[in-house]
Structures are given as C-alpha cells and as structure tokens.
C-alpha cells in the first residue's frame, strides 16, 4: 500500500468479533469482520435487526471493546488505549450522531455545539466563529438560542450533526440518524451530510435500515448474523 493510500485510511478494523455472555450462553454479535474505510467515504452499514450493526459501530467508535480483533483509527489502535485516553481520542477524532438526537436538554443549540469545543479547550473566539459556521452549514443560523425542546426532531438532528462536526473529527458514526425523522426532515439532513461529504470530504459511516440513506450511500455494507454478507466498495477496499 502506498504512503498516500495510508494517509487516506481512516478506519481499519481487523478480524473484529464480539461475543456476549461468553461464560453462559455465548452470543456472537459480530463475527470476524474486516472493514476498511477511507477518507471521504459515505458508507451505509445495513442489515436486519440483530445483525450486529450497532455493535460493530460501537466497537469502531471505541464505545465497546471487541472480544477479538482490533480497530485502527488513523494509525492508532484504539482497542489498546486506556479508558481515559480512549475517551480523549473519541473527543478529538470521532463524531457521533444518535438515533434519539441526544442533545443536552438544558443547553441551547449554540451551547450544545460549543460544548464539545469546550471539552477540547478551544479558545472562545474560535468556538464562537465555528459555532456560527456550523449552524449555517446545517441551516439553523436563526435557532442558535433555542433549546432542544423548542426544535423539531429534524432540527435537533441537524444540531446533533453540527455538534458531531464541532470537534473536527476524522469521521462521523451515525446510528440510525433518520429513524425518528419524517421524510422531509430526513431528506434535508441527508442533503446536509452529503454536502459536508462532498465539500469537506467528511467521512460518514451510517448504521441504517432506512432506504433513503441506503439510496444515497456510495458504499453499502450488508451485515448478516454478525458477518459481512456483501460490500459494494471498490474491490481494493474490501477484505475477504
């Protein structure tokens, strides 16, 4: 693999397995998955319920430890990081968008986005500038001072995307981001994410059932029973 190619690699998962209840009734949630994602990918992880999508996403995001295998993000083996270092790594490298939006209800849209940058200890001036940019990018410049309860589901999810982008992550993991949205909101959200992907080469990995997301994805990985059943990626990116 060339140096240029290595620099493009964002996610490199090797032989990932996750077994729940190994001592009682073992459940193989993820079974020997190899996954390779490069910068600028817009990938959907699909599969029936219980196929291991969320577990795989959690392991890639460093939220769950694999039973075997390792996850290398931008050259760092995150499965070997101690807990606090892993949390710090997530803060600086991974953006999350959740199905249930998960905004902090007592903070305004502006503060929710700024919160991540505060954790990163970014100076106030830069925070302020970036919040304005992100609110503009997700089409909510006039909702800066609204609290989550004052926003629609679609607007909340757009704030969540802005929050995920605030830390300037390597990639964004989105777990069923459109599941709780009506079709118009889902379409708007996907437009925004697609634009961020095209204009800023932001890498997205979605776990989804939603055909609207699948239709827009440029790569679709199908998981069945914890294993990759199909991958529409260019041949060079696939692992056997």
């Amino acid at each position: 693999m060339s140096t240029d190619m290595e620099n493009q690699t964002v996610i490199d998962a090797h032989n990932l397995s996750k077994v729940y209840n190994p001592d009682t009734i073992p459940v193989n949630a993820v079974n020997g998955v190899h996954l390779h994602l490069e910068r600028g990918e817009f990938t959907a992880l699909v599969g029936p319920s219980g196929s291991g999508k969320t577990t795989l996403l959690n392991m890639i995001g460093g939220l769950d430890q694999p039973t075997t295998g390792k996850v290398i993000i931008n050259g760092t083996d995150i499965t070997a990081l101690p807990p606090n270092a892993l949390i710090d790594f997530r803060l600086h490298n991974i953006g999350f968008v959740f199905q249930a939006f998960n905004l902090i209800p007592v903070l305004t849209a502006r503060e929710n986005i700024e919160f991540i940058m505060l954790l990163q200890k970014i100076p106030a001036e830069e925070r302020s500038r970036r919040v304005a940019e992100l609110l503009l990018a997700v089409g909510l410049p006039n909702k800066a001072d609204a609290r989550p309860a004052q926003l629609s589901g679609g607007q909340q999810q757009r704030v969540a995307v802005a929050r995920a982008l605030a830390s300037k992550p390597q990639f964004i993991l989105a777990d069923e981001p459109t599941a709780n949205l009506d079709s118009h909101s889902a379409s708007t959200l996907l437009d925004i994410m697609e634009k961020l992907n095209t204009d800023e080469h932001m890498t997205f990995l979605f776990s989804t059932h939603d055909q609207r997301v699948i239709d827009r994805a440029r790569r679709v990985i199908t998981l069945v029973d914890g294993s990759i059943a199909s991958d529409t990626a260019p041949a060079g990116l696939r692992h056997s």
Binding site: G61, F96, L118
Partner: protein, 404 residues
Amino acid sequence: MLSILAWRNIWRNRNRSLITMASIAGAVMLSVVTTSLQKGVFDNLIRNLVSLYTGYVQVHGIGYWDEQTLDNSFEINDSIRDAVSRTPGVTGVAARLEAFALASAGEKTRGCLVVGIEPSGEDRLTRLQSKLEQGKFIADSSSEALVAEGLAAKLRLGVGDTLVLLSQGYYGSTAAGQYRIAGLLHFGSPDLNDRVCYLPLHVAQYWLDAPQRATALAISLDDPRDLRQTQAALRAGLPATLEVMSWEEMMPEIVQHIKTDTVGMYIFIAVLYLLISFGIFSTLLMMLSERRREFGMLVALGMRKGKIALMVLLESVWLALVGSLAGLLLSWPVVWYLTRYPIRVGGEFAKIYERFGFEAVFPATLYAPIFIEQTLVVLAVGLILAFYPAVQIMRLNPVAAMRQ
C-alpha cells in the same frame, strides 16, 4: 461551564429541586435558630454568673478555693495590684473579702454571703450599680451596706434600716457589726438575690479583723476568648503563693452543663441532617437513574467520567448551597427577633431554672460562625451524598447506559 451546566440541570425537575431545597432550608433554619438560642442562653448564663459575680478570672491565696476560709486569704499590696493591672487583656480588677455570716434584724436571722468590695472597682467589673433597685450606691469611703432585695425581704428590712452581721473573723476572732442599709440590689439569679450583702472593703476588713487582706481579686477581661492566654500571663506575673483560676475552673458544673447540653444539641442536629440527607440522596438517585442514558452519551462524545462526576457533585452542592442560603435568610430575622426579644418562660419550668440559680430567660445570639458552620455542614453533606452517584458514574458503561 460545568458549574453553569450543573445549575441548569438542577432546574430540569423544578418541583423536585424546590422541595429538596425547601427541606434543606427548613433544616438549616431549625438548626441555626436552635444553635443560636443555645449559644445565647449559655452566653447569658456565663454573663450572669461570671460577669455578675466571679469575674472571668480570680486570684486567690493558694488553697482558698478548696477551703474557703479567711485563714486562706492573702495580703493585698500595690505590687500585686500592679502586676494584675499590667497584664495584657485585663480591663478591671476588684479586691474582695468574702465571709459567710448570720444576718439579723429584729427576730429574723438568715445565713448570707458578705462580700467586702471596692465599690467603684466592683461597679466597673460587674456593673453592680445597675442592680440597684432602691436607695443609693455606696462610695469607697462609705460605711453602709448594700443588701440583695430577696435577703432584705426575708429580714423585712428596707433602705435606711440597720442590718446586724455576725461571723467568725480572721484567725478565729469574733466579728460583729451593724450597718445601715444604703440600697437594695436586684439580681436575676435567685441564689444571689436571696443571699448576698455588700460592705465596703475597708469596713469588711475591720469587721473581720483582717486588715489589708482579701480572699479574691476578681478580674474582668477585654475579650473572654483570650481567657487562657490572660490566665497564663497572670500566673507568670504573680507570686507562687497565689492561685489564678478561670471561671471554668471555679464553676466546673456550669462547664459540664454546657458540654452536656451541647452534645444533646449536636445529636438533635445530626438527626435533623440525617433526615434531610435522605431527601437530597433520593433526589440524586432519581437524577442518576433518569440521566444514565445522557451520561453514557456524554462519555461517548468524549467527556471524561471524572468531569461528569464533578458535574453531579456540583449539582448536589448547588442544591445544598441554595437550600442552606435560603435557610440562613429565613433564620436571620428569627434569630434577630429572639436576640431583641428573648423568650421568657414562667411557671414550673422557670422555678426549675431558678432553683439552679439561672434566669429563666432564653435570648438568642447573632453569632456569624453559627451561620457559616451550618452552611458548611450542609455543603459537606451535599458533597458526601454526591459521592455515591459519582462512583456510579465512574463505573458507567456508555453502551449499556445508552441502551436504557
């Protein structure tokens, strides 16, 4: 940021937080008022018994306190007076010559305590003149007596009447004298009111055949909190034939009473705080349970668990702080009122107090450390109670938490 977040978080469930704060405020108010009342009563008691009679410190001849006879009196001279007066913290000195005597008038006889005093010095020390009910105060050169009105009533004497005193003088001589009553004194303490009679020092010395002698030098202090240092300085500056005793040594039963009562108060306050602790703890537990998913999300986003635990700790501190400040604001006017208008009880309860020589008056005291202590105690309670949620957060599994 964490502090602001914590502040906003406590208002998520406004009613629950308000109820918790109200319970804290109530407990703080109750403990501040009762503690202020207790301290006020003790201060009053000490003022009554110490300032009124013993002084904060007394100098005696060695052995006098254990065996209070004229034989253990000491010769008072200028060097002793100077040594006492020059001691830092001493504001007043009064020599006394005390003896128990039979007071007689007509066919009535009563046992009493005769105190030979330097009237002007005694007044500076104990404000004796303020106790004058009838007649006039005596001058240093006078040869008249002042009698407590309870004793005078028992002897059916009044101002201008003659009081006969019989006692044993210095080294076994017989002491007898008759003195015109210049004034009647009223003491809050019934014990003093029924038993005390004052003569000018030189008159008492002549009556008891003990010229230049005194049984005690009663000393007042600039600041009673300097009692220990002043006592030590006096010991260092006086001959070894004299003993220097604090009021606490002279009246250990009062010290014991205060200690016992204080322990009782601490137990009461501890129970009170234990009760509100359950309130705060249940609020924190509910908050922990309701927000477990959110905590998981914050960990996922990159917030260290330690910071989340700190945020919860701040929430607990905010609850305790607002509650205790409200309690202080509520208790301040109550304490102020009780300082200005002390509780006065009557009936059997008053008689019990009077039997022990205490005034049945319960003033409070506006003493800033009480208010500060209660706030700090509540804050400490808040911090301790937040420890359990903090530990739970440190053990949080973000995936399991977000699955809730």
